[in-house]
């Protein structure tokens, strides 16, 4: 468009530069599911780059928790702060990605209420790619948060027995777990009317999930019924797998319990998300 044009433009003119772009007869075939999902993953990463403090906010809480539990309670819980840190840190890595994964539900709720989601929905693309793509983009956030938490732990004196290999396996397990858990938040993000509701409900849900787990203390000190509940918590299974991976003591039993928890989360909450997403699409 010509910026010098004024309001007195004669009604018969069509915009010449714009008209030229409309002559494009380039008609590509619509993207497949993978290409569309990757485009949405790219969008998610661009948003993280635009808003990096969101990542540091999310890492801030786990770091504080590590410091408080290690230096305040560590001596009492494990005899020495250094010893307690070896037990606590893998759990804190899980805690940090659980906290970050909550953001997925809030972001989705905000996203679907915006005009841009109408545009996506009116396009010839595999519709779940909007969800799958942003979850794929989130994998990078989870990996960054897990890595930062491990680095903070190393600085404080965390010395994983299985070295680099154990840490890498642990981080991979954490990222897959966060991806599985994210479906809980997407279901919530679609069910709730407003982002504030998503934030409040997920905030309430996350505390029992984190504290009724083996992140801070071993469940064998708890009453029997509580020990059972803690054992069923998917977070407990993820923490056990990550802890044992980093210590080099990962067993097939740990991995199976972990895989069952992840699969159950994806199947149950993925299905609920799908139903809610379709319902939302047609109103």
């Amino acid at each position: 468009m010509n910026p010098t044009r004024t309001a007195e433009t004669s009604p018969s003119t069509a915009d010449a530069p714009v008209a030229a772009t409309l002559l494009s007869r380039d008609r590509p075939t619509p993207p497949g599911p993978l290409a569309a999902s990757l485009a949405f993953a790219w969008r998610a990463l661009v948003r993280v780059r635009r808003n990096p403090q969101q990542l540091f906010d999310a890492v801030g809480f786990p770091v504080m928790t590590t410091l408080v539990f290690t230096y305040l309670f560590g001596g009492a819980l494990a005899g020495s702060t250094r010893e307690y840190l070896q037990h606590l840190l893998p759990g804190i890595v899980v805690l940090s990605v659980v906290m970050i994964s909550m953001n997925t539900g809030v972001a989705l709720n905000v996203d679907i209420s915006k005009g841009v989601s109408d545009r996506f929905r009116s396009m010839s693309i595999w519709q779940p790619s909007v969800l799958v793509g942003s979850l794929l983009g989130d994998l990078v956030r989870y990996a960054v948060a897990a890595t930062v938490t491990v680095l903070v732990g190393l600085a404080l004196g965390f010395r994983p027995a299985d070295g680099v290999r154990g840490v890498v396996v642990g981080i991979v397990l954490v990222v897959i777990f966060a991806f599985s858990l994210a479906w809980v938040w997407t279901a919530l993000g679609l069910a709730a009317a407003k982002p504030e509701i998503v934030m409040n409900v997920s905030g309430l849900a996350v505390f029992p999930l984190l504290f009724l787990s083996n992140i801070f203390v071993g469940p064998d000190t708890m009453p029997g019924w509580l020990e059972t509940a803690v054992g069923l918590n998917p977070v407990t299974r993820a923490v056990t797998a990550v802890r044992h991976a980093m210590a080099g003591t990962l067993t097939a039993g740990d991995l199976t319990a972990y895989a069952v928890a992840c699969a159950a989360l994806v199947l149950v909450f993925g299905a609920i998300t799908g139903v809610l997403y379709n319902r939302r699409r047609h109103t």
Binding site: P11, A14, P17, L22, P28, K114, D118, S122
Partner: protein, 326 residues
């Protein structure tokens, strides 16, 4: 299909109810390919819901809607491949830059990354957004957002473009830019369905239009047909000498056999005419009688008056709308 092949849009008895509100109440529309169709009505009349049904976002409760002969419910995927939607609220991602938005949507239309980037730059230049390309859309003015929105809709020029209130809230210069883009689109072969609250906008852009009120189409036709169906033309003269108005009033009254009304300006007279020929005779009589005329006009009633006549109430915010486009 069949006889409707040359129609871009055809709906029959389309209805959609939200709770107890019949948002769309038996709408029948026919929009010919290659034309601009104006959908005129006040807020809440059902314009946006109709667009949402036609663009596959909402399912109708009953009735049928076809886009290029394709049912919007059963052939939604095929419909989506031929349309673009520019919603009432900016349908772009506010957290991304203008360029990132166009690249993303280019990818989603199926362009490979390099072509998506090239096409984004091409459109940013053409839509006068090159300087703002790297800024997040949050910082854009209303006019810039609209232009980006429309640019996003033409990454692959669609066969049918929905523009939901494309100029609401824009200043006159931005509004004219949007109008120019609509004209360019039609020249390039795109059919445009636009909704508007501005009567003048439908009059300027649309080949045909429908007036919608409370979910029902209350009139459909060309802007001229709608105006002539409502009333006769209006003949107005302004005399050079206000002293002669009484004499002119008598003379015009006898020639046109209708009462001439004095206007607010002491030198003007307004009279309804059914036959424009007789208006020119009246001018000749005035000249012969030595009454000089400063200027005169013969026009059809405004669409504002059309709306009042059709619905019995004025179009919402019609005064501000008229002033904004004046």
């Amino acid at each position: 299909m069949g006889p409707s092949a040359d129609l871009a849009i055809e709906t029959r008895h389309l209805t959609k109810t939200f709770g107890t509100t019949r948002a769309v109440d038996g709408v029948d529309l026919a929009v010919e390919t290659g034309t601009v169709f104006g959908f005129l009505g006040p807020n809440g009349a059902g314009k946006t819901t109709t667009i949402r049904i036609l663009s596959t976002l909402t399912r109708p409760d009953s009735g049928t809607a076809e886009v290029f002969g394709l049912d919007v419910v059963r052939r939604a995927e095929a419909v989506r491949a031929r349309i673009s939607l520019t919603g009432q609220y900016a349908s772009v991602d506010e957290d991304l830059t203008g360029r990132e938005n166009l690249i993303l949507l280019g990818r989603l239309r199926g362009h490979p990354w390099p072509r998506a980037r090239a096409r984004a730059d091409e459109l940013l230049a053409a839509f006068d957004l090159a300087e703002a390309a790297g800024r997040s859309v949050k910082t854009y003015s209303g006019g810039m957002r609209r232009r980006l929105d429309i640019a996003a809709s033409v990454i692959v020029p669609p066969d049918l473009l929905f523009l939901d209130e494309p100029t609401t809230g824009l200043d006159p210069a931005s509004r004219n830019q949007v109008w120019d883009v609509v004209r360019a689109l039609v020249e390039a072969g795109t059919t445009v369905l636009l909704t508007t609250q501005y009567l003048h906008e439908a009059d300027v852009l649309a080949n045909r239009m429908a007036v919608i009120d409370q979910g029902r189409v209350i009139a459909q036709g060309t802007p001229a047909e709608l105006k002539s169906s409502v009333g006769s033309a209006t003949f107005q003269v302004r005399l050079r000498d206000a002293e002669q108005r009484a004499e002119a009033e008598r003379l015009i009254g006898s020639v046109l056999s209708a009462a001439a009304h004095p206007g607010g300006d002491p030198a003007t007279l307004t009279v309804s005419v059914t036959d424009p020929d007789r208006a020119s005779r009246a001018l000749a009589e005035l000249s012969a009688a030595g009454i000089p005329v400063a200027d005169f006009s013969l026009g059809q009633p405004s669409l504002d008056e059309v709306f009042l006549a059709l619905t019995g109430h004025r179009a919402e915010d019609d005064r501000t709308a008229q002033e904004e486009v004046a």
